[in-house]
């Protein structure tokens, strides 16, 4: 039963947002997870919140609401199916098994995801469980929530969006603007520089015998050095110059087109019928 759960960042954002918008009397929020299942991997791509009420001995969730929203979502994305449900909070409670039973009717082997928004232990823990039935045959069957591995997975544009959104972490007003291209390249090269410095530091330490050499790291370093293409000065100069020339020519042409556009506009304005 080695299932792995791969979660997209969108899902986590949505859970946090639903928790922030919860009703004043609710302690936690629950909702449905949507995605697809393939062999041993469950990929969760979307989720939505389901209104529910919890008291000490009872739990009520609006089933019809959940079905409605799932239906609406199917109109947009027909490939997303119900794969489980999520809840905020740090642990699995008694009520969870009731809710889980309901979801077991909707899909095959639902997974249960918890995001610890109460920040116990100073971390917002992300955990996933599946329900394993246990008990003696011919006896009362019970089920136990077994933890399974959970990872994050992103589409490429999602990674980029996430990296931008993450920049709000350090700022005071939690805001950030999308960056200009050149600024991003500058930042990436600075990061590369930092990484290279770390590698250099490691090599120095090993040479000065401050640190034990590691064969795997050594092999990786060798790969790194070899991956820089080996070109003579002339070869490089030709490649560089031709590329620069191409780019400059394209820039000139596009500027020319822009001027022509402006001219065209003014001329049509001038002409009288």
């Amino acid at each position: 039963m080695n299932l792995t759960v791969k979660v997209h960042p969108v899902v986590l954002f949505q859970i946090v947002d639903a928790y922030e918008r919860r009703n004043a009397d609710s302690m936690r929020v629950i909702g449905t997870l949507l995605g697809s299942v393939e062999k041993n991997v469950v990929e969760v791509t979307n989720c939505f919140c389901v209104p529910h009420k919890e008291t000490d001995d009872q739990v009520e969730a609006e089933i019809s609401y959940a079905l409605d929203v799932y239906d609406l979502n199917r109109r947009v994305n027909a490939s997303e199916n119900i794969v489980g449900w999520w809840a905020t909070g740090s642990e699995v409670t008694n009520h969870s098994s009731v809710i889980h039973e309901y979801y077991a009717r909707e899909c095959n082997n639902p997974i249960h995801l918890t995001l610890d928004t109460s920040l116990q232990g100073g971390k917002m823990g992300l955990k996933a469980y599946i329900c394993v039935s246990l008990g003696v045959p011919k006896g009362v069957k019970g089920c136990m929530f077994t933890p399974i591995k959970v990872e994050t997975i992103c589409y490429e544009p999602e990674v980029i969006a996430l990296k931008l959104a993450q920049k709000t972490v350090g700022t005071r007003n939690r805001q950030v603007e999308p960056m200009m291209d050149l600024a991003q390249i500058a930042e990436a090269s600075e990061k590369l520089l930092g990484l290279l410095n770390q590698v250099l530091q490691y090599v120095e330490d090993v040479l000065n015998e401050k640190q034990q050499p590691d064969n795997a790291v050594g092999r990786a370093l060798l790969d790194l050095i070899h991956s820089v293409p080996n070109m003579t000065h002339d070869q490089f100069a030709t490649m560089f110059n031709s590329n620069v020339k191409d780019l400059l020519m394209v820039v000139t042409l596009s500027q020319l087109i822009k001027t022509q556009l402006a001219l065209n506009e003014r001329l049509t304005m001038l002409s009288t019928t």
Partner: protein, 327 residues
């Protein structure tokens, strides 16, 4: 005309991520444009976008769009999501978002909701490594022009509108709540470092080709529009000349008739022969010019960053050679 002073747009991380996910998934399947609604609230000069939801594809006729929107908004209100409709978003390809449909839709939105914006997400550029989310609003002149429905050059000149003044771009910020920040810190450990840095790739030819091809198509269109307009002008001139010739002949005839003592013929008959020709509308060429403008801006940006990357590699090569020589 009352124009609510929206000076900037604040977008929640959640809404941005949802837009990215939806547009990316659509672009993977078929090349159709992904659209959706933006929800949030307007406060002073700031428009906040707190959530969004995608629209079903317009090719599916069995789906009633209005119905879908209403149902969706009602459901979201149950879970305390802002249900004030503040605009819509659309994916685009290499900046070709400016089209007649976009103008019309935004016009309808802005007339019914004062602060509506359209957020455009550029799929190609974002996949290449630069998240491109831009918010636009129609300028008051554009709204006036649309209301009049009159696209002749005279009307445009009066309104002082050109392809540059159709849309006003509004700066967009991304904002996250503190809890989201905590969540992202957790996420940072889980997402790998190398992903998302492939925009340092030197292979620029492919994207550049696409841009230039798109630009060529647009320029061809503009050329056709321009020749249409030129032909119109030539016919007008020829018409004027014919009219003058007829009038002169009439004047001569009249002079002859007056000499004979008869009534001069009225000019109206002649004038009636030459009806004014309809002026071709300038809306299409303006839109195409706007598109060409955005494409050329994109090309400029792209070339500048490619040049930067090339110079980086030159520095690297220089350093390598220096080491080689010093050994």
């Amino acid at each position: 005309m009352a124009d609510s002073k929206i000076t900037y747009v604040q977008c929640d991380g959640l809404a941005a991520m949802k837009i990215v996910k939806h547009c990316h998934e659509e672009s993977q399947g078929n090349m159709e444009i992904a659209q959706g609604a933006l929800l949030g609230l307007a406060e002073g000069n700031r428009l906040e976008i707190t959530n969004c939801f995608p629209f079903p594809k317009s090719t599916d006729e069995s789906v009633d769009e209005e119905e879908y929107q209403l149902q969706m908004m009602r459901r979201l209100r149950r879970v305390n999501v802002d249900h004030f409709h503040v605009g819509w978003y659309q994916s685009s390809d290499i900046g070709n978002f400016l089209s007649l449909t976009l103008l019309e839709s935004q016009y309808h939105y802005q007339t019914s909701i004062e602060e509506a914006v359209v957020v455009v997400y550029d799929t190609q550029k974002s996949a290449g490594g630069f998240l491109t989310l831009k918010a636009y609003r129609l300028t008051p002149q554009a709204i006036q022009m649309y209301k009049d429905g009159d696209f002749t050059p005279d009307a445009l000149r009066q309104l002082k509108i050109g392809y540059e003044k159709l849309f006003a771009e509004i700066p967009i910020h991304i904002k996250n709540s503190t809890l989201s920040n905590i969540m992202m810190l957790e996420l940072k450990d889980m997402v790998q470092e190398e992903e998302g840095s492939h925009f340092l790739d030197l292979g620029t030819a492919g994207t550049l080709e696409n841009h230039i091809r798109a630009m060529m198509d647009r320029v061809d269109e503009l050329y056709q529009e321009a020749s249409k307009f030129n032909k119109y002008q030539q016919t007008v001139m020829r018409q004027e000349q014919d009219k003058h010739r007829q009038l002169n002949r009439l004047a001569q005839e009249n002079a002859a008739r007056v000499a004979k003592g008869e009534q001069p013929l009225p000019e109206d008959d002649v004038l009636k022969q030459f009806r004014p020709l309809p002026v071709p509308p300038r809306l299409n060429p303006m839109i195409v010019s706007g598109q060409i403008n955005t494409i050329s801006q994109h090309i400029n940006q792209f070339c500048s960053q490619s040049l930067a990357k090339l110079y980086l590699t030159q520095a690297l090569q220089g350093a390598k050679e220096a080491r080689g020589e010093s050994k």
